[in-house]
């Protein structure tokens, strides 16, 4: 088994989960409570990775991060090297790719919090922030946790986007799913078996944990 690839995948999934915790919650909150009429556009954009081929997403991320794009150029100016085919590029691409998996369970958990409780909170003098920390977040905790675990597991197993954006550089961008692909290509089936089995078990355990926490079906389809 390719331990370097496994470690890399875990590191990637962990970073992506942390970032998605930080940006997923505000996005989910906004999607749940905003009264803006154009909200459906943002909902659709967030859900895009669910239906888009990973290669398409990967391709556009690659273009956006490449040395001819503003982002790529700025990054090069700061760090002295390009962004494409780096671990950082993988993180950015994975965040986009796993966004709906984090945001949708969070948003649906926020939406399930009784509006009467939110009104009660406001009537007791609490502003939106206090209401969020003291009422919404504790009551939606399972949904937030589910979102994080799904994002983590999804990042761990992604293939197409990683290949497009990161390539296959051992220790830098070679994730566990690419390692399996490599092993199969080079007929190293025992190694492929081991890694695949480890990933399978890990995914099963992860999903069991999710279902045990929430005891509610989560929908990959949009939540309304």
């Amino acid at each position: 088994m390719d331990w370097a690839a496994m470690a890399l995948s875990l590191r990637l999934a962990l970073m992506v989960s942390v970032v998605l915790l930080l940006i997923g919650i505000p996005i989910a909150y906004w999607l749940t409570f905003s009264a803006w009429r154009g909200k459906f556009l943002v909902e659709a954009a967030v859900a895009l990775p669910l239906v888009l081929p990973p290669t398409v997403l990967g391709f556009y991320v690659l273009v956006a991060l490449g040395s001819r794009s503003p982002i790529g150029r700025t990054w090069e100016a700061w760090t002295g090297h390009g962004l494409a085919f780096t671990f950082e590029a993988l993180v950015i691409a994975s965040i986009l790719y796993s966004l709906p998996f984090a945001v949708q369970p969070m948003a649906s958990a926020f939406a399930q919090v009784d509006r009467g409780l939110l009104e009660a909170s406001a009537l007791l003098g609490a502003g939106p922030l206090r209401t969020f920390w003291r009422v919404i977040l504790p009551l939606a905790r399972d949904g937030v946790l589910t979102g994080l675990i799904l994002a983590f597991a999804h990042t761990l197993g992604e293939f197409g986007v990683v290949l497009m954006v990161g390539g296959n550089l051992p220790g830098i961008t070679r994730t566990v799913s690419i390692a399996i692909y490599d092993d199969v290509q080079s007929l190293n089936l025992t190694a492929a078996h081991l890694t695949a089995l480890a990933l399978l078990l890990f995914s099963f355990v992860t999903l069991s944990v999710v279902y045990a926490i929430s005891r509610k079906p989560w929908a990959v389809a949009p939540w309304r």
Partner: protein, 363 residues
């Protein structure tokens, strides 16, 4: 210092418009009306969780809403205590944390003292550590009241807070609430559709119907003098029957009314009308006596044979629905129901005094 609430506003709802002009002095003002009359909307607009289309709402000099000058103070800044029908207690917090929730700006040490004080007033000191799911319905209601009162609101809005409780628990909580307000003297708007609560609580009742205040006075004035059919139904005449005047006896001050459905005639007090005119006869369910056999030697003028259609147990009493052509609802106690052997399909005699029948000329 006690302030007066003045609210004059309009808010369009799906099927009617709430259009009210209310001023509530310190003390309890009851808002009475059937469900869907706009009672909750009235409270929600005062609290700021719904926004009126037009008008002005002030608590004392503090204008909290004014459409003309675009004032709309957030609910959090209105100093309004609000108890919801569904209570909306935070399920993940202890009773103490629920009560202390509105005291965010009060130092921690004082918070505890104030929670303890209000818990004593409402007799919930023993449940403070428990969560809402682990205490009784009456205790939950008390926690809801305590939570909205601990912050010393300038006005208290109660949206059918006791409707889910039995009568004894209701009375006790009402007593505690009135005692609490003796010291504070803030305006309390109390929404209910229960007559019992009206008489137990209020010196003043507003009768709300389809978004408008159609009567305003003491409970006795508003509840005992229905002006037309809708009111009679509203204020607890469970029976409102169609009929026509059969005979007039002006010398005795009474008349006979033939009920629709043919079978029965009732003697009622005289109203301004002629033989053949349509009238409505309103009778409270509690004013009808039931007899297992035909009674004799009674002063009551109306003794009507009927068949029991159904029995419904509701808390302390049994609602008996009996048909004599028209279906009448009568309330008897559980034990009376047993002793009389009342059952569906059984025969029963309805005994109604002339002056328990209120004849109304429909408008």
């Amino acid at each position: 210092m006690a302030l007066t609430l003045t609210a004059r506003f309009r808010k369009r709802l799906a099927d009617f418009t709430v259009d009210v002009d209310v001023s509530a002095a310190p003390g309890v003002t009851i808002v009475f009306g059937e469900s869907g009359a706009g009672k909750s909307t009235l409270l929600r607009c005062v609290a700021g969780v719904s926004r009126p289309d037009d008008g002005r709402i002030a608590i004392g000099d503090h204008v909290v809403f004014d459409a003309a000058s675009r004032i709309d103070v957030a609910p959090a800044r209105r100093r309004v205590g609000f108890v919801f029908q569904q209570l909306a207690l935070f399920p993940h917090m202890s009773a103490a944390d629920n009560i202390a929730y509105g005291l965010a700006r009060v130092p921690k040490a004082d918070q505890r003292a104030r929670v303890d004080a209000v818990a004593r007033t409402f007799r919930i000191a023993h449940v403070l550590d428990r969560r809402p799911a682990d205490i009784s319905g009456g205790e939950r209601q008390r926690v809801g009241l305590a939570r909205s009162l601990v912050g010393d609101p300038e006005i208290l809005l109660l949206d059918e807070p006791l409707s889910a409780l039995d009568h004894t628990t209701q009375s006790r909580i009402i007593g505690d609430l009135l005692r609490w307000n003796e010291a504070r003297g803030i305006p309390v708007l109390y929404v209910t559709h229960s007559q019992r609560e009206v008489f137990a609580l209020g010196r003043r009742v507003l009768l709300l119907e389809a978004g408008r205040i159609v009567a305003d006075g003491t409970p006795q004035e508003v509840m005992n003098a229905p002006a037309h059919e809708r009111h009679a139904e509203l204020v607890g005449y469970e029976n409102v029957l169609d009929g026509v005047i059969a005979t007039l006896r002006p010398e005795a001050g009474v008349m006979a009314v033939s009920l629709a459905g043919g079978a029965a005639q009732l003697e009622t007090p005289l109203v301004d009308g002629r033989v053949g005119d349509a009238v409505l006869v309103a009778i409270r369910a509690g004013d009808i006596l039931l007899a297992a056999h035909r009674p004799s030697g009674l002063s009551a003028r109306n003794v009507v044979s009927a068949t029991i259609k159904s029995l419904r147990r509701t808390g302390a009493f049994v609602a008996v629905f009996a048909s004599c052509g028209a279906v009448l609802e009568a309330h008897v106690t559980q034990s009376a129901c047993q002793e009389l052997g009342l059952r569906e399909g059984g025969e029963v005699w309805l005994v109604i005094k002339t002056h328990s029948c209120r004849a109304i000329v429909p408008v």
